[in-house]
């Protein structure tokens, strides 16, 4: 027991040393999820810390093996594009859960609800009257020239004005302990299956601690998702047929598409399984055509309909968008939602919230420099080694430069790209993500983590009381994207003790 404690403390000390490495000397120490500045375990981590202390290194390794076996048996895999090895691999998963106190979750819940409400109002506005553009709150060409802006969506009726039905926002904890939004994902956010699978696994490896901790359940997510999707159907379709549309087995998130379809009990279809006839969408089944009401699509806008969008697409179904326009089918998320999670529009989200809701943003943004502004561009170019530079259109950690961890050659390359096409880039100061304890090579060590909660929006907005915590497995790395070799761990959101009293 004593041995365990000392190990954790030792690792904490090591992390501090790493935090003082010369490159990031000016930045404050990252927030530690488990321990406060004095090194004392935070109250909501107490139970877990106690349990870990009773376990030997071998016992921890044993549990990690159990966990990995669970994932392997379940076939929970994903694909890294461009990697030489086999297409699919097991997602690296960490044994130790990340724990969030009830009080903190309340802020996150309220902040995300507010944000999604405002973003949906923003989408409804720019696809109809464009009042916000007329009032000059968001620059007109930023929105109308964005490739993700779909003129085809102009003046279409979207039930409940819910454009983004499934949203996965990326939150990070700043050194002062406050959560901030790093990115909104309103197109086809993925990762929710890992949240569900991680929970299944952590119930197996820490059954006792889990039961005692009062963790809020997330098992209802598939039901909530189905309810949300069904709430988008027209009133006169009492028992709407929902399907999940996947690009196919070669997609990196194919496992998730199949997993969600199975948990919701709805068919999983590819574009070639669909046929549009007389402005209605049908799926081909062994017993003939069956009409479809709701499509939860995991295919990008560009590819859902070769007639309306990319003409060389074989992933969608021709005529789908016309059926959508006529109101005979609902596509979730609505096409064109990407314009609201554009990295350049992101900088304006606090303004957008104030404009539509008259409130201040509960969850702040990260300070963002728009390279399209000449003054901000020159500031970014002068400090490339301190900034994280991202391409506006890209996602998944592709096409970005992490200043402090980059070489001079990489910086020069980005400087050239920035000068050539400044509109396509934004820059953010390098944020020290908070760190949490992870089991690395049989030892407990600190790694940087972020948080991706999932929000559903149909008739009403529901924030799932859980999240995907992504871990940057390389020591000191700040990139957590699973496509860049990041891992994940379970996230426990604790029940408020006050809520439990009658």
């Amino acid at each position: 027991m004593v041995k365990g404690t000392s190990r954790v403390e030792l690792q904490a000390a090591k992390t501090e040393a790493a935090g003082r490495a010369p490159v990031v000397a000016a930045t404050p120490l990252p927030y530690d999820e488990m321990r406060d500045a004095a090194g004392k375990v935070r109250p909501h981590y107490a139970a877990l810390a106690e349990r870990i202390d009773t376990l030997s290194s071998d016992e921890l390794a044993e549990r990690q093996k159990t966990l990995e076996r669970f994932f392997l048996l379940q076939g929970i895999t994903f694909t890294v594009y461009g990697a030489e090895s086999s297409t699919e691999r097991i997602i690296p998963t960490d044994l130790l859960p990340r724990i969030i106190a009830a009080e903190e979750w309340k802020t996150i819940d309220a902040g995300l609800t507010q944000r999604l409400r405002a973003l949906n109002m923003f989408l409804a506005d720019i696809y109809s009257g464009q009042q916000i553009l007329m009032d000059g709150v968001v620059p007109r060409d930023l929105v109308l020239n964005a490739p993700s802006y779909r003129r085809e969506m102009q003046n279409l009726y979207v039930p409940h004005q819910a454009y983004a039905n499934v949203c996965g926002s990326d939150l990070i904890r700043q050194p002062d302990g406050k959560f901030a939004v790093l990115e909104d994902n309103l197109r086809v956010p993925s990762g929710v299956s890992y949240m569900l699978a991680n929970r299944e696994a952590s119930k197996r490896v820490f059954p006792g601690t889990f039961r005692g901790a009062g963790v809020r359940p997330i098992d209802r997510y598939p039901d909530l998702l189905l309810t949300t999707l069904k709430s988008m159907a027209a009133d006169w379709r009492p028992n709407p047929q929902v399907v999940v549309l996947t690009p196919g087995v070669y997609n990196s998130a194919y496992f998730e598409h199949a997993y969600l379809a199975r948990l919701m009990g709805v068919p999983l279809v590819e574009g070639r399984d669909l046929v549009v006839h007389d402005n209605m969408v049908y799926m081909r089944t062994t017993t003939g055509l069956r009409r479809i009401d709701i499509i939860y699509r995991r295919v990008d806008d560009d590819f859902i309909d070769p007639l309306t969008f990319r003409r060389d697409s074989g992933l969608g179904s021709a005529g789908l968008f016309n059926a959508y326009r006529a109101g005979n089918v609902v596509i979730c998320n609505a096409p064109g939602t990407g314009v609201a999670d554009d990295k350049a529009v992101y900088a304006y989200v606090p303004e957008i919230i104030r404009y539509y809701l008259g409130e201040d943003a509960i969850l702040p943004n990260i300070e963002t420099f728009l390279c399209r502004e000449p003054a901000q561009l020159s500031h970014v170019l002068a400090n490339l080694d301190k900034f994280v530079v991202k391409a506006v259109g890209a996602s998944g950690g592709y096409g970005m430069l992490v200043g402090p961890h980059s070489t001079k050659a990489q910086q020069d390359e980005f400087a050239a790209a920035l000068t050539a096409d400044p509109e396509n880039y934004i820059a953010q100061p390098t944020i020290q993500l908070s760190t949490g304890p992870c089991l690395i090579e049989h030892e407990i060590d600190s790694r940087h983590v972020d948080l991706r909660p999932f929000i559903l929006c149909g008739e009403k907005i529901v924030v799932t009381p859980g999240a995907l915590t992504r871990v940057a497995l390389r020591k000191g790395s700040l990139v957590v994207n699973s496509s860049q070799g990041g891992g994940s761990k379970d996230t426990w959101v604790l029940t408020d003790k006050k809520d439990l009293q009658p």
Binding site: L133, M134, R140, D141, L144, N145, R151, E152, Q154, E270, G271, R272, V275, V276, H277, D278, N279, P306, L307, R311, D312, S313, G314, A318, G319, N322, R325, A326
Partner: protein, 324 residues
Amino acid sequence: MLLAVRHSTRYQYDEPVRESVMELWMQPQKRTHQRLISFELEIDPAAQLFSYADTFGNAVYHFDIPQPHDKLTITARSAVETEPPPALPTQLDRGEWDRLKSDFVRGEHFDYLHPHGFTGPTESLAKFIAERKLEELRVRDPLSAMRDLNSILYQAFAYEAGVTRADSPIDHVLKARKGVCQDFAHVMIAICRGWGIPARYVSGYLFTDRKAGDRSDPDATHAWVEVFLPSLRWVGFDPTNNILAAERHIACAVGRDYSDVPPSRGVYKGEAESELAVGVTVRKARAAVSEPEFLRISQPAPRPGQRRSQYSGLAYDQQRQQQQ
């Protein structure tokens, strides 16, 4: 002027195809100085027609044919009454350039001020502008500049079908110095947008009058340009024939460029080569409307890799008709 239009489009496939889905931008607009009297669409094989208004306010018809078929014909018949637009002033004051910069114009006509698809600035366009000293036109008021630009484009390019195709970028026509109305319209739009004058592509028909000097083909659809000048609103220029768009022009649809408003576009499933034939007749009404004698065979579109055994669910892009 009372005009009757018959526009036939025929797709022929060397092997049966299925699940054809098509969209048509063929209905003449109802607009100032143009009254739509009747519009009929005939589809063979028969199909249920649906319609919607697109972002630019055009009427779009669409249908699908699920069963196997080796031929698809679309016949659009319309009757339109047009009247000449009021005479334009000989010139405007130069303050018009400032009015073009107003927030209202820049906001309302955002889409018609920015490059899109075919109408972006290119190197050969810059060369062309320098060679013809087009920048000097901007010394004058916008209306005179547009008039001059219209005739310069008329002189700079020879009318010749078959040099360019429906999906040719403007570089082709700028290099060959010949093309058809679609190419001339794209070049003019690209120049206007570069100068901050909202310009849009108009797809439609022309009642061709050889005696008046028209050089565009009477058996094809037509395309021209409309520019927005704040004190006159939309003014139509036809660089193919060196005239202003007037009562002989019938507008069907407006868009940022050809790709927004092709007369017909669609996809089908099946491994087959297609052949597209188009015939247009525009007659003064009450004169006997005769059937067109021949259908123009458009150039076969090469589709690399089409015959490769990809899975049969892949949809193929229908060949599109060039506007001439």
